[in-house]
Symmetry: C2
Subunit: 313 residues, 2 copies
């Protein structure tokens, strides 16, 4: 049930209609790890600079995350500055300082090479494959990507896609990657690129899971207040992969529950800035919201005699 | 189980990325009636001009629709001309000719006044109440509206809202009506205006149902090809109200199945231009897609011991 996570650990500066925060904990691997830790504390491979606050390291350690692969290098930590407008759906990047992340060459500690479940966060697809090269016998590999790699590193990304089991994308990315407007057709085309499953995240509308002929639609938990959408996608991946690694099964029912748990974790993350909500989150809250998600989507079968009196057409 | 429908019957000219059609059958009451007829053929109150093709009258009659309230007046039928761009989500109105619809004063035939279920299509909210004044003891009243009425006839619309059980709106309309960006808050505010339930339609993303503290999320059936989104909302309302009138129950389970059936009927309507798909649609196809919708959204409960080995946070 070993779970490996590779991605960014960052210091984010965020502006939303509800406030702003400077240099708070962020990065795909941070959100992923904190969320996955409720099910299966992951092994983390990432890089931070000399300025990275020790308290964040302590937080991840307290969640059981294996930090043997967290490299601290001379220089500053990756910084991202973003702003969300009133609808909170789109992040506008104000500033990106790659700093030590610019030369990130993920090297797995020997003890990480037997990892069975692997999450390749949103990094250069070349680096994603470098990670895979170092894992002896991965059982289930999921990857995230973004429009930047789709536009600038398409061939490399396609190579990565041939080596993974599942791709996480949002709907705009799915359309762009597949060059197909219809999201169902786009997902099927992405499956033809290699992965045996694709999760299309649609923000407040939920997500769609495609694998072979199967489709699963998970509604997002309808929230009255979204404070900060940063990290929602990585939280989704964290809940999903954490549960999968914990279960050690990839059957249809497990994958569906994993998607709902991903959605649940993301719904908590966006309730507060940065990873704040994840610091106080409990297993009981996760379980309760999963049950609410089930209530949210449940309906009974139709009556058998429903159409009997329908007039002939 | 009497069901009354009031709204427009129109001749539409449509342009989509997949083709165009001139002067085809359209209008809220036409879509509504054809869809409701699978469950409970409605009584139709609408107006058409001298140019309205008899074949359309025959089609509605063949579906069991009671046409005693379909007035034919001197002049031309209401015409709408619209275009959809590539994403098919937004209709751009190219031309509207109200014609005989401009003076539409819905008058219910005496035999219609005992109707129990009432659908008030998207017309002037003053007229919507005029209809209600003529129904002796309505049991369940649903209404549709649009941004035009929200912007120009807000006070009248609020009066109508105090007299209905359920409002159908899309998410943009919900936000505008409630002056609230968050869709959950918007829906709750609309409930405070009078209706005991609101359905927020979100196009390809599905719909949300709010009533009291209850929320139900129905995913839209993911379609590989959408030809013409015209009439999707009225088809939804038709499936919903037809099933409700057929069931003569408004319990939670019935309302949820009604929403799924509304979504199912809408999913068929958009597969072809105008009401074409509804002409060939069968009860078996509706039932099969309902079952697919159930498979689409189904997931099992979490394992009981899931969080037992989680490290202390």
């Amino acid at each position: 049930m070993s779970l490996l996570a590779v991605g960014s650990v960052a210091l984010d500066s965020l502006e939303t209609p509800f406030g702003r925060r400077e240099d708070v904990l962020g990065g795909s691997a941070a959100y992923f790890s904190a969320c996955a830790s409720f099910f299966q504390p992951p092994r983390l491979v990432a890089v931070v600079g000399e300025d990275f606050p020790e308290q964040h390291v302590q937080f991840l350690r307290s969640r059981g995350v294996d930090l043997a692969g967290l490299e601290r290098r001379p220089g500053k930590t990756f910084r991202w500055k973003g702003r969300y407008e009133f609808d909170l759906n789109t992040a506008h990047t104000l500033d990106t300082q790659l700093n030590v992340f610019a030369d990130f060459k993920p090297v797995l500690p020997e003890a990480f090479r037997d990892s069975e479940y692997v999450f390749l966060g949103n990094i250069d697809p070349d680096l994603q494959r470098t990670v895979l090269d170092q894992v002896r016998a991965p059982r289930f590999v999921a990857a995230d990507t973004m429009n930047y790699w789709i536009e600038t590193r398409r061939e490399s990304l396609l190579k990565t896609l041939r080596r993974i089991d599942l791709l996480f994308v949002n709907d705009a990315e799915a359309r762009e990657l597949a060059a197909e407007v219809n999201v169902v057709k786009a997902a099927r085309k992405i499956l033809s690129f290699g992965p045996r499953a694709v999760v299309v995240k649609r923000g407040e509308y939920g997500s769609l899971f495609f694998s072979g002929e199967e489709v699963f639609a998970a509604s997002a938990y309808p929230l009255q207040s979204v404070f900060d959408p940063t990290g929602a996608g990585d939280s989704f991946a964290g809940g999903f992969m954490g549960y999968l690694a914990r279960s050690r099964r990839e059957d249809r029912g497990t994958l569906r529950r994993a998607i709902v748990l991903g959605s649940v974790l993301a719904s908590f993350t966006v309730e507060q800035f940065s990873l704040e909500r994840l610091r106080t989150l409990t297993a009981e809250e996760i379980r309760a919201r999963f049950t609410e998600a089930k209530q949210l989507a449940h309906f009974d079968d139709l009556e058998l005699d429903l159409f009997e009196r329908v007039p002939a057409s």
